[in-house]
Amino acid sequence: MTSAVSFQNVSRHFGSVRAVDAVDLDIVPGEFFAMLGPSGSGKTTCLRLIAGFEQPTAGSIAIFGERAEGVPPYRRNVNTVFQDYALFPHLNVLDNVAYGLMVKGVGRPERQKAAEEALALVRLPGYGARRPGQLSGGQRQRVALARALVNQPKVLLLDEPLGALDLKLRENMQEELKSLQKALGITFVFVTHDQGEALSMADRVAVFNDGKIMQIGTPEDIYQRPKTRFVADFVGSSNVLPPDFVQRYAGQHRWGSLRPESIRIGRANGQGVAARLVSTNYLGATTRLALDAEGLRLHAIVPAGAALPREGEAVVLTFNREHLHLMDELG
């Protein structure tokens, strides 16, 4: 099967800055693909390479098997939901949504009908006559989505689309985007720096750092079995364990990772890793503990309501051997 988007050894350099550095990537048709990474990691440049706003310095890009280098954005059947929505301020909502059909020469009644349907799809029916300036952030987001979807793109690109929304709205939109993607069957490529968002929505996640892909896999893979220290650290605040520490408890001289929720806190006289409780952070459903184990700073998450030692008290940490994940990086 041909990939929806395929990168072969793609680089994009801006002067001496390697924004994207020799990236290989295959996105399966119909999947919800997330590009996750800190700002400046190259994920947005990758998205812009797919959209056609950037051209690769080296390598080749194919969209559904067709070569895309040198093809301008307006000849790609790919649409983008921009980070700050980029709605046309001089057009009303209906004309914004119908824009793509208008420039393709679709007649007025037909394109307005399609735009109305797209607005209904994003649950904004009857908002057509308003100006973008009269809408809330969440509503603009939906209009931007409708404006892209009305063109029935082969690939939909979303550039941090939920970044400007508040928490509640963001959670709602995550669910909606996910179900919309399932219903439409369009390939979604989603850029985010929020690991929770990537894990909860995507079928597969690519973790970016310094213009390179560190790891591609399902959310479970990425979360449970990070390959590198960077992935372990960036995707959920995992405890990164140095090789010497891992050697002692798992018998291999490699970097390891241990999820905070895998650590149990015990009495000071028991068996395990001797540590001292530094501070506690109440997070509602759970409590996050900062611990000092022989100079190594560890974090543990325990359910709220559990009996906790006092700050500064000595404790013993235990964990299940299987929960200690060994990474590819050797010491």
Partner: protein
Amino acid sequence: MSLDAAMPRATAPAILPGSGGVRGGLSDLFWRRPQFLLLLMLLPPVLWLGIVYIGSLFALLLQSFFSIDEFSGLINREFTLKTYGDLLQAANLDIILRTVTMAALVTLAAAIIAFPIAYYAARYARGRWKALFYLGVMLPLWSSYLVKIYAWKLILAKEGILTWLLAKLHLLWLLDAWLSLPIVGGNSLSVSSTGTFIVFVYVWLPFMILPVQAALERVPGNLVEASSDLGASPGQTFGNVLFPLALPGIVAGSIFTFSLTLGDYIIPQIIGTSRLFIGQAVYSQQGTAGNIPLAAAFTVVPIVIMGFYLWGAKRMGAFDAL
């Protein structure tokens, strides 16, 4: 800690004492009642505009309803529409039509020339190039208007630089063919309507470039990308996104170029034919002819035209993007 050194925590009061004196008192007063400050800042310019500008405009309007006694040359201060009747004579209508046509063409040409320059400056020019752009646009405004016009006379004259250049390029026949045309032609460019047009466009161009550049500067770059992303070719993006969003700037610029051309009386006098423009007509009516009412009536024409122009622009939605 350095913070403690700068302000000892134990002794610092929660509310600081006023700085005292007239200045301190005024600062506190203006903070509590910001409308005082606003009034103080706005009063002088409002008085200036109200009395000197609106007042003289009103006096002008009043004068245009007086008439002149043709025998004595004295002004008859009684309300009449006779002067406006005189304005509609064929010779005067001819002046109005010539001036309005020139103003419209100058505005159109200025907009067409200004747009790419303004677009470059707004989209691509950064740092040193941006400074160079502002310098290039503003520099002509620093030198005297008369110097520039006489410089153009030298460029456009029969023995001038342009004729010399075209002769070198073996293109003199093109100039001669153009000059042999009626209306736009003449003995040389410096005594033709074409010459007047060229100089008008040159002199008013900065007034078009700057507002268009300001309007384009406010268009977020991602709107152009969004348009392209949705399948619009560069031409369609220009027509559907850039032009409508730049239109308030173009209209603002055209107010300058249009009204400045309508009122100017020096350029057509130095460069061009002997046929009059509104400005020249006003100048001669209030000067040698001593017909102040007719001069006033002539002056009302550009005001009325600009009024209609702005009304039309608003109706066509030129200010919707503001």
